[in-house]
Amino acid sequence: MNAPAKLLHIPVEHTTLANGLRVVASPDRSAPFVTVGVYYQIGFRLEPRGRSGFAHLFEHMMFQGSENAGKMEHIRLINSSGGTLNGTTNYDITNYFESVPSNALERVLWLEADRMRALKVDDENLRNQRDVVKEEVRVNVMNQPYGGFPWLDLPPVAFRNWPNAHNFYGDFADLDAATLADVQTFFHTYYAPNNAVLLMLGDFEPAEGFALAKQYFENIPPQPKLPLADVSEPAQTEERTGAVDEKLGPLPAIAIGYTLPPRESPDWYVAGILDRVLHGGRAGRVFRKLVLDEQIAVDVSSTADLLDTNGPTQMVTSIYHKPEFTSEGTIAIFDEVIEEIQQKGIALDELDPVKVKFRSDFYSSLEGGMGYSMPRFGLMHYLACFTLFDGDPHRVNTILDGFLAVTPEQVQAFARKYLVARNRAVVVRRPVAPGGAR
């Protein structure tokens, strides 16, 4: 009963309000829920110098009260409507989102407009959330084995320009130094309708959604002088390396990051496919070599934030290896995998299945809803990135074409050009804890 291959087509409509707010609608009437998001084009890359971690601390402040919805009111109104909400801070975006029964769409838009218009927070709120954020950093980084590995370890080694190279979760001294004035300045600088996109997905009529968006958002004043930021990196000429103490975990861990070509360039698509050749699960070449064949590593994983970043980013291999092997020796075996693809390239009978899996995984990301508390979160996330970074949410329906067109020759050429020492950074986590000794 294998059905013929079906290509997915996502319905997308979009408009821009007079104040510059972009509005994207993707209706789907199959279940009575809507997911709503507001994405601001500001992430931790552009937080102020001397204020590491500020973009994320600020994200917490967006839940502390706006003009007409005081502290906990936003959360109460969403939860009591039968919905869930959250926010996240990323490299180039910060997002706020809700999934609610569709009869609460207007309420959600009112709430999001209220906090886009005016943040109403005080020193007590800031002190409170600074404490909360410190516990967040402790639970996710300082009190976890391999906490922050590799996402906090690599940037300071790999990059030279502060926006790309600092501690994104924040040094505690910088968090302590943040003031209420910083909060309001950041808000007025970046949290403007012309620096954001509003997304609505699910059970609603786009015309009605657009009308409500206009009603609640259009008279929020734009920011006439959005800052221009330079996140470019100087050319790298040799391999960069670093070491970080692992205070809890018993195994050495290695992160190897190769800097990727710019978004939407021809090579960028090749990076997406080659990443899957190397790292696509247990069939990926690196996993097969290091975990299955040589049995040096316990686990291998990777990240390549292609679709949701808009600045220097890396394809990162994370390797946790057994203590009886050296990190240097492990890297040498990893290098053999890279050399093999540089020298011998890749056959179609390997590349074609990788593309099938790539397509399937893309659909899964679109459907993915953070467990299932946030239906269509993945679709919303990509629509936001295509709108903010590429100016076209319809890219969601064509983006696969670029990846599926990658040829074996391109893969080999990419490996020769980009997977080289002068384009990479390597960080080793070395266990120092007594628990690490056997």
């Binding site: 009963m1 294998n2 059905a3 291959a5 079906k6 997915l8 279940a31 009575p32 007409n68 959360i75 109460r76 939860n79 009591s80 409507s81 039968g82 919905g83 609610v100 029964p101 569709s102 009869n103 207007e106 309420r107 009112w110 709430l111 409170n128 909360v132 410190k134 516990e135 402790r138 639970v139 300082m142 009190n143 976890q144 084995p145 059970d203 009605e208 409500l212 809890l248 975990g249 018993p250 699960g281 069939a283 097969r288 686990d299 299945p353 099938v356 899996k357 399937s360 659909y363 899964s364 679109l366 459907e367 993915g368 809803g369 467990g371 299932y372 508390s373 239906p375 269509r376 628990g435």
Partner: protein
């Protein structure tokens, strides 16, 4: 979808909710094949994918007294070879079909799950059936995985959340198999290939299994296909041992897991509770939501939003198949461990002493029914909800009646549930942190026993 009733763009009050849309749980095709395999199918055609879960109603609990963790180790090795497919071919077949595979076991069940492109439905189900019926347990693959499991366990023993759960389950469940969260290094070292194969032969059988498939297919055609693929599979029902009862607790006790130098302390407390089949289940879920199960809950407002002690406070009702348990947890600064426990007990006792307000009740009923119903909106959600219903053999109409059951509850029901199930006087308390920093605070709440991260008792 609501229509706007105001013309003022700068309104200061939130818009009222529009009329509610009914939530329709999708039609299900449910059949039991002649070999006993129960098949549950739901069409969900937004994405050209299928997701399938094949469950066996035997997990780590049935072997907890002979070989703890054996079900999990068996599941790990099940995917690594069949009579006709070596491990590498399995992985390549998966990739060719755009599929991901998982094999895992918990306390109550073992599972083979896969998701992939609908155009390869048959191939994906055939591969699942091959793993369910013809796994070959290659010795070399097993030895490699055994070593991996040892290393994972060593990492777990440096993870505060794991150490808290492990000690808590030991304390709460005593001789009951749910006491075991993970095997020891010695137990992992003692597993044999034959033990894995034996567990597989006994427990991977159609008579105690459920196959749930959600996705882009026609249910009739899918059912016919499944009969073809799984119909000829036969094996007897396994014997499942009776489990000893968990201990009765009397009075609060504190179990401190000492991790020297930690910059934060994990607090986990709670008591034995009920399963989804208990008549109190719905009122307990509601009480938990008001207490600490939602962002807008008393515990979160208190120790996060007012006091800033923690990032992620949470309470939950954990429904294992034979016995549930109630937990309250938070990772807090070292100097507020006692203050956190005081607030946790204060909020538990408040739930037990006074009825919740009408506003809290109303808000929580909407929240619980809304979030539960979100399950209809994704393939993963449907799969999760259906799996719970059929694996736990919940009554017909459980999904459909959930909203009405929650909505019928009163403040008196919540009060009664809190009194019965938030056992504050006999709560067991686990603290994972540096005893030099938190030991005195812990001792304020009951007699303290101290352990190291390996589980050895410390003087």
């Amino acid at each position: 979808m609501t229509s706007s009733t105001t013309s003022s763009a700068l309104r200061t009050q939130p818009p009222a909710l529009g009329p509610e849309s009914p939530v329709a749980w999708p039609q299900r095709t449910v059949r039991t094949l002649s070999n006993g395999l129960q098949v549950v199918l739901v069409e969900s055609r937004n994405f050209p994918k299928i997701s399938a879960q094949l469950y066996f109603r035997s997990g780590n609990a049935v072997v907890a007294h002979s070989a703890p963790g054996l079900a999990e180790m068996t599941a790990t090795v099940v995917r690594l070879g069949t009579a006709t497919r070596p491990s590498r071919l399995i992985e390549e077949d998966l990739r060719r079909m755009g599929a991901s595979l998982g094999t895992q076991a918990g306390a109550d069940s073992s599972a083979i799950s896969a998701t992939g492109l609908a155009e390869f439905s048959s191939g994906i189900l055939e591969l699942m059936a091959d793993l369910a019926r013809h796994a070959s347990f290659p010795e070399d693959e097993f030895e490699r995985e055994r070593r991996q499991r040892l290393e994972e366990l060593r990492i777990d023993r440096t993870t505060p959340g794991f150490l808290a759960s492990e000690r808590f389950r030991k304390v709460l469940f005593g001789a009951h198999p749910y006491a075991v969260v993970a095997p020891t290094e010695e137990q992992i070292a003692a597993f044999t290939r034959d033990q894995l194969a034996e567990f597989y032969r006994k427990h991977y059988v159609p008579a105690e299994s459920v196959l749930v498939v959600v996705g882009d297919f026609s249910a009739d055609a899918m059912l016919a296909e499944i009969e073809k693929i799984f119909g000829a599979w036969n094996a007897p029902k396994p014997d499942v041992p009776a489990f000893p009862a968990p201990p009765q607790q009397s009075g609060r006790r504190v179990y401190l897991v000492h991790m020297p130098g930690t910059v934060q302390t994990q607090v986990l407390l709670g008591n034995l509770s009920i399963t989804r089949r208990d008549p109190d289940w719905f009122s307990l879920v509601l009480a938990n939501s008001i207490f600490g199960g939602a962002f807008h809950s008393r515990l979160v407002i208190n120790i996060r939003e007012q006091k800033g002690y923690t990032y992620s406070p949470h309470s939950g009702v954990n429904a294992l198949r034979r016995q549930g348990y109630f937990t309250v947890r938070a990772a807090v600064r070292n100097d507020v461990v006692a203050a956190t426990l005081t607030e946790m007990f204060y909020e538990m006792d408040r739930m037990r002493s006074l009825p919740v307000t009408a506003e809290e009740l109303d808000s929580a009923r909407s929240y619980i029914t809304g979030v539960f119903s979100l399950g209809v909106a994704t393939q993963d959600g449907l799969l999760g909800q259906l799996s719970t219903v059929y694996l736990d053999q919940l009554p017909e109409g459980y999904l459909e009646n959930y909203r009405d059951k929650i909505r019928a509850l009163t403040a008196a029901d919540v009060l009664a549930a809190a009194r019965r199930h938030f056992d504050s006087a006999n709560a067991q308390i686990v603290i994972v942190g540096d005893r030099a920093q938190v030991g005195e605070q812990a001792a304020l709440f009951g007699p303290v026993e101290t352990f190291d991260a390996q589980g050895a008792r410390l003087a």
